[in-house]
């Protein structure tokens, strides 16, 4: 009898962790849907952001700046910048969802404390919340791409691949954002977030090609957003290359580390 229970306790958890986490994550998503069903206007409001962004570059800069030289020839400036804005918007959405929203539920609503008293574990919480952030992100990315197409900024069918690229950006930034949030002591600490995302937004080959950074281009490559911009731009301009896998790898590593830290930290914060 004691031998069988001991055996069970060794093997069972390893077999159960993954499906258990996914099932639990599904419950967290279910809760978000329940909450946002009533506040769907907040979600709709997010669709206007890309429209204004894109109109400003189409009507504004686009008219002032000439073509940009890319390896595949000259490209209209608006067509060059739009994918970078799409990537940045995916980053901003994911960061917002995984920092402010998560912090509120962690410290004020004490939602996770409630959830952890049920069979759900910290990894289910982390994966579930990030999945929801991604689902919202996909909606916005589709809207963004739709606006780009409507304004004549999409030059190839490959642009559809910008959607999975944005999911990856969202995943990487939501995971990292959630991990960082678990270290926040109070609302004041959130001042640091724009301090990290704003320079990334400006310095990730967003508004000019990597070549124009000259000797400082290695700094640009340290920005995770740069890798996201590179992927989305390659998709929108239709220039695929094996080198893109490197960008995918950077974002994938960021995701794995972020998720690990986030679920471990939720555990240490709440399961003491």
């Amino acid at each position: 009898m004691s031998a069988t229970t001991a055996e069970k306790s060794v093997t069972a958890p390893t077999l159960r962790v993954v499906p258990g986490t996914l099932r639990g994550a599904g419950r967290m998503v279910e809760r978000s849907i329940l909450v946002y069903r009533r506040t769907w206007l907040i979600i709709v409001s997010g669709f206007f952001e890309p429209l204004f962004y894109l109109l400003s570059i189409r009507i504004g800069f686009g008219a002032l700046v000439g073509d940009v030289q890319t390896p595949n020839g000259p490209v209209d400036y608006a067509v060059f910048v739009a994918p970078a804005l799409m990537a940045s918007s995916a980053m901003n959405g994911a960061v917002y969802d995984s920092t402010m929203n998560i912090f509120f539920k962690l410290k004020h609503a004490r939602l996770y404390e409630t959830v952890l008293s049920t069979p759900l574990g910290p990894s289910a919480v982390a994966v579930g919340e990030i999945t929801w952030a991604l689902m919202r992100g996909v909606l916005y990315s589709v809207a963004f791409l739709g606006c780009m197409a409507a304004l004549g900024m999409v030059v190839s069918w490959w642009a559809l691949l910008a959607l999975p690229a944005c999911v990856l950006i969202g995943l990487a930034f939501a995971s990292a954002g959630m991990a960082v949030t678990t270290y926040m002591r109070g609302w004041n600490d959130f001042e640091f977030i724009p301090a990290a995302t704003l320079p990334m937004f400006v310095l990730s080959a967003t508004f000019y090609p990597l070549s124009s950074y000259g000797g400082l281009s290695w700094v640009v490559q340290l920005s995770p957003l740069y890798h996201g911009v590179a992927l989305v731009r390659a998709a929108c301009l239709g220039d695929g290359s094996w080198g893109l896998l490197g960008h995918v790898a950077v974002l994938a590593v960021m995701t794995v580390i972020g998720l690990r830290v986030a679920s471990r930290r939720i555990g240490t914060l709440l399961l003491t």
Binding site: P13, A109, R110, E113, V115, L116, T118, L271
Partner: protein, 306 residues
């Protein structure tokens, strides 16, 4: 097989030892209490039993399972009413219960049926579609109890369930807890109200500074550690310092508190007349039955609610 079995369980937070080695067992169907003042280690112990806090050392088994290994399986069979309400403010009452049931993987339709039934049980059915925020403290507690019953738990943990409630709300709650006991649910409750422990618990442990100082039935503890009756005397503030010595022969034991003097005696009235014979004239006097408060005072030298 006991529902909860603890063997020299310790819990430390850094240098602070919240629980310093406790042993106890809770049998199936029992209403078990942890009585003690704030800071006695009751909540730390509850969190360990709730599998949301690992033990520092010692052995804890719930449903004969190890919380460190099978935490999720144990939590699936347990209901928890935490000390402070942590209801989901973004959902209605009904949604709070349904969603909580979903965390246990109960099918949605089943969750809705149980939620309706439980809102009825805690007398909140008419508020099903309202938000949590406007509810009174007593209603929030009742909703939290309803929530803890969504998974039909075999064991229900209640951490100070009536703190901050008015007397009427407390009695409504007690009555609901009795009904759960009748249905065969094992209940474990912490409280610093002796009347609550005396009324509800089949058996209890008295805790002080992270240790268990006594264990038994409420009646048994009183018989063992106190006299049948207590004579309470209120004396004028200029009462002589040697009052304890002068009263020494009266009753079995005398306890001098800042605001009153307690004389422990099996016959309180007889003790009062001997007080009068000694020429001591109290401002007021009262003869009452011994309570768990007296047990606590006897065991720790301090009163329970300070």
């Amino acid at each position: 097989m006991p529902v909860i079995a603890a063997t020299s369980v310790h819990k430390s937070f850094g240098d602070f030892e919240a629980v310093r080695g406790v042993d106890f067992e809770v049998a199936r169907g029992e209403f078990f209490g942890f009585l003690g003042p704030n800071g006695a280690g009751k909540s730390s112990l509850m969190r360990m039993i709730g599998c949301v806090s690992p033990t520092t050392s010692g052995e804890l088994r719930i449903f004969d399972l190890d919380p460190g290994v099978d935490g999720a399986a144990i939590r699936a069979r347990m209901g928890v009413v935490p000390q402070t309400d942590n209801l989901d403010q973004e959902l209605t009452l009904l949604e709070n219960l349904v969603m909580y049931g979903r965390y246990f993987d109960i099918p949605r339709r089943e969750c809705r049926d149980r939620a309706r039934e439980l809102l009825e049980f805690v007398q909140l059915a008419d508020r099903a579609d309202s938000r949590v925020e406007p509810l009174s403290g007593g209603m929030k507690r009742r909703l939290t109890i309803a929530r803890s019953l969504m998974n039909r738990p075999e064991l229900l943990l209640l951490d100070e369930p009536t703190t901050g409630l008015d007397p009427q709300a407390r009695h409504v709650l007690w009555e609901r807890l009795y009904r759960l006991k009748e249905q065969g649910v094992t209940l474990a409750l912490t409280t610093h109200y002796m009347d609550e422990a005396e009324q509800l618990c089949d058996r209890l442990v008295v805790m002080d500074r992270g240790r268990i100082v006594a264990e038994g039935t409420p009646r048994g503890l009183i018989l063992e550690h106190s006299t049948r009756e207590v004579l309470e005397l209120r004396l004028s503030s200029s009462a002589p310092d040697d009052i304890a010595e002068r009263l020494a022969g009266t009753g079995e034991r005398v306890e001098v508190l800042p605001d009153r003097v307690l004389v422990y005696a099996n016959d309180g009235e007889a003790a009062l007349s001997s007080v009068h014979q000694l020429g001591i004239e109290p401002l007021a006097s009262l003869v009452r039955r011994s309570s768990l408060e007296d047990v606590f005072l006897r065991l720790t030298g301090r009163s329970l609610v300070e």
